[in-house]
């Protein structure tokens, strides 16, 4: 009749209803004149029907309730909420731990940290009688010393005037601190007793207010003003420095 001969795939597609109208008609015509192919198509149909019939009521068991979409949706929501809750509690725990740990570290460092310990050290090093002469700036003129301080510090507070208590400035010395230059000014009275006035930039870790600290026979009184920390270190085992100490801290007890 004609040269058209459908492939095996064409026959399958024909049985599966996957062909367009034109192709289907062609195969209809072909099958009418080719009994072998028609038998094959019939066989394919039978196979399909057998499979469909045997799978029709599969699975036989009723649908278990866990497969209900509403229930699954709800469980997904609960699960994601639980995950969020776990994540949130993790974050909370972590931040609490971090914060707490940091506070603890801060606390323990504060306990061992001595404010203005460098001022006390400076006194020990340079205020002894034999070292008193080894200063960078040797002058008894307060104005010169103030000018020298102003060179090294921006808007440094005016030097205290202890002349009323018999202590006069005799020299200044630059020191090194962890945050840059520090300076000490040495005061002496006629008896050779020494007081150190100390200026330095604030450190990084701790900011402390005013206070004092007894360290051996030395009293370190310190405060903060403007950009710098200041301290006056004086011996506490002599009556001559008492008025100075009281002048710095008016509320200081009398003894």
């Amino acid at each position: 009749m004609n040269a058209f001969s459908p492939s095996e795939h064409d026959l399958h597609a024909y049985v599966d209803g996957q062909l367009d109208e034109a192709m289907r008609r062609q195969i209809d015509a072909y099958l009418a004149s080719h009994p072998d192919a028609a038998r094959e198509v019939e066989q394919l149909r039978m196979d399909n029907q057998r499979l469909r019939a045997s799978l029709e009521n599969i699975p036989a068991a009723p649908i278990p309730p866990r497969l209900d979409p509403f229930r699954i949706r709800r469980e997904l929501r609960v699960r994601s909420q639980r995950r969020m809750a776990i994540a949130a509690s993790l974050v909370l725990t972590l931040s609490l731990g971090t914060l707490g740990g940091w506070q603890l570290r801060d606390l323990s460092m504060r306990k061992t940290y001595l404010p203005m310990a460098d001022a006390t050290q400076a006194y020990r090093m340079f205020a002894t009688s034999d070292m008193a002469q080894k200063v960078d700036m040797k002058t008894s003129e307060p104005d010169q010393l103030q000018g020298w301080l102003n060179q090294h510090f921006v808007q440094a507070a005016p030097m205290p005037d202890f002349s009323a208590y018999g202590f006069k400035p005799v020299g200044g010395r630059l020191m090194a601190s962890d945050k840059g230059a520090a300076a000490m000014v040495l005061y002496q009275n006629d008896a050779g007793q020494a007081i150190v006035y100390y200026v330095r930039p604030p450190g990084e870790l701790f900011n402390f207010g005013a206070g004092n600290r007894q360290d051996g026979n030395l009293l370190t009184q310190y405060w903060r003003q403007g950009r710098y920390f200041y301290a006056v270190v004086s011996p506490s085992d002599t009556p001559s420095t008492l008025p100075v100490q009281r002048a710095i801290e008016p509320n200081r007890p009398q003894s």
Binding site: H12, N48, L51, L67
Partner: protein
């Protein structure tokens, strides 16, 4: 929610999903597990379904991918076990726990998983070749050649059987 299908749409599909799952796993319990994880995946990814195509084909695709993933995992696990000197567990169903115990189905369940999926999607679900190709992630030409191979294999298994005279003739 941006999804364009409802719980009822899914409920309506459930029997088909369970059948596809059972034809893949051949065990009723693991089939329902597969259906459940497929539903979970579909519901949590509903917003990624933007083509608006046939919901059934989309669900079949999710399920088939999950089935293949599960098989790969099982194979890896079996490989791991064999490292410890265990013998590989026989994953083929034993006579007792084959859910498809009817004779016609016994032959079907002897086919490889891919052929079972092909036959079910084409002959039973009536998906188009293109949808099957998308579902199983293979080219459409491959669908056709593997389909005819699967039918031959099934017929060879069936040949021992007498044709069932009480078979209803469906259109």
């Amino acid at each position: 929610m941006s999804q364009d299908f409802s719980d009822d749409d899914l409920r309506e599909l459930l029997p088909r999903l369970r059948r596809f799952a059972l034809s893949l796993t051949r065990h009723e319990n693991s089939a329902d597990d597969l259906v459940q994880s497929c539903l979970e995946r579909a519901l949590s990814r509903a917003d990624r379904r933007h083509d608006g195509g046939d919901l059934r084909a989309w669900m079949f695709q999710i399920m088939y991918r999950q089935f293949l993933d599960g098989q790969r995992r099982a194979k890896r696990y079996a490989g791991l076990l064999s490292l410890f000197g265990r013998t590989e567990e026989d994953l083929a169903p034993s006579a007792e726990d084959v859910a498809m115990s009817r004779s016609a189905l016994q032959d079907f369940s002897k086919l490889p998983a891919e052929q079972r999926a092909l036959l079910l999607l084409v002959s039973v679900e009536g998906l188009s070749y293109q949808e099957v190709a998308d579902t199983m992630d293979i080219p459409i030409g491959t669908v056709m050649s593997r389909l005819s191979r699967a039918r031959k294999a099934l017929r060879a298994l069936n040949d021992g059987l007498p044709a069932n005279p009480s078979l209803r003739i469906l259109k």
